[in-house]
Each structure stands twice: as C-alpha cells, then as structure tokens.
C-alpha cells in the first residue's frame, strides 16, 4: 500500500528557495495522486500571510498555496505555537477553499505518517 506522506514546511518565503520548491513538490505529489498532508511550522507559517512581491520581482507564493485545494489538499495544518510566537493571530489565517487546522501539539500528528518531506 502506498505510504502516507506529510510535507513539513518550516521556511519563510522569498529569503531562500525552500518555500517555493516545497510548494512545487507538494503540488507534484498531489498531481501524481500521492496527495500529501501539509503542515506549516516555524517560519513556515509566514507563507500563509498575504504577499505582494512585485517590488522584488518575484511571483507570489500565495498563488501556489491557493492551488493546493484544487489538487485535493483541503486541510492546511498550522503549528499554533509557531503562529503565536510570530504574533500571527490564528483568525487572520485564511486560504480560499481550504480549512486551516491549528495544531496545539504537532508531535503526535507527525507520528501518524509513514514519510515526511521537509522543506
């Protein structure tokens, strides 16, 4: 049986390529019918903020994020401690077509998967 996959996204957007390449890998997995669960933790929660990177000549990563529900990823898991530590109010986190699931304790959640891809 195919393994269950978690994508763990821990890095802020734009500063380095991991956020972008993580989202691309997630979309690729989903397109291959290996739909991963997704958890934003640490600086990764910054990926959920509104973005306007025209002034730095980048594409918005929010676009890639917004594509997730279309690929069958309808729950976006977010580490609550990480959001709190960064002053991000849980109710400001929104993604059209997806449900934001705040996790008080990510450890037991992670344990439930066979494989974890880290980005």
């Amino acid at each position: 049986m195919a393994k269950s996959i978690l994508a763990l996204c821990r890095h802020a957007p734009y500063g380095n390529a991991l956020a972008r390449e993580g989202l691309e890998a997630i979309l690729a997995c989903a397109a291959m019918d290996q739909v991963p669960s997704v958890l934003f933790s640490g600086d990764g929660v910054y990926q959920l903020l509104e973005q306007d990177p025209v002034a730095i000549n980048e594409k918005s990563l929010r676009r890639n994020l917004q594509a997730l529900p279309m690929f069958g990823i309808e729950h976006i898991h977010v580490c609550r401690k990480s959001a709190d530590a960064r002053g991000i109010a849980a109710d400001t986190l929104q993604l059209a077509g997806a449900e934001i699931v705040l996790l008080a304790d990510t450890g037991p959640f992670i344990r439930g998967f066979d494989q974890v891809l880290s980005f």
């Binding site: 500063g15 600086d43 306007d52 730095i56």
Partner: protein, 93 residues
Amino acid sequence: MTLHIINQSPLGGSALQDCLGSFVEGDALLLIEDAVYAAASPAEHKLPQGQVFALAADAQARGVTLAQAVTGIDETAWVDLCVAHTPIVSWFR
C-alpha cells in the same frame, strides 16, 4: 558609526541576536529580506530605539506592516545610509 544589515528572520536564526550583541548607540540597523519580519514588533525583538530601518520592498513582499519605530526605506536611501556609515557589517545565514 556602523551600519548593521541583517537578512535572516528573527526566530529562524541567530543573525539578529548576534548583531544586537554588537550594536552600539549611534549605530544604524537595517532589516532586509527575511529580517523584515522583526520590523512588525521591534520591542519584542529588542531592537534599539531609533536608527532602525527596513527595506520597504522586502516588507511589502512579505505582507509585513512596519511598526512606527521602524523607518521604511527604498534602495536609494539604502545607498545613502551606506555613504553615511562605516563600516558596513552584514549578519547573515
């Protein structure tokens, strides 16, 4: 007087803390790239009072609203800051 430039997010790495340990009154602090996340809550990150700048383009890109204590600047003002300060120290990765 030194211009300190930081490009790392405040919780993601030690660059900001390392820099603040070398900050002297009269120095200037510029937050660029992922460091602009610190500009939303300068007191929480123990930023100095005054002479704290952030690249406006980087903040806008990330959806970060600068606190009043932080002056948003463009690249031209950054060049001016470099002209007005020496040395220039980058704290990264």
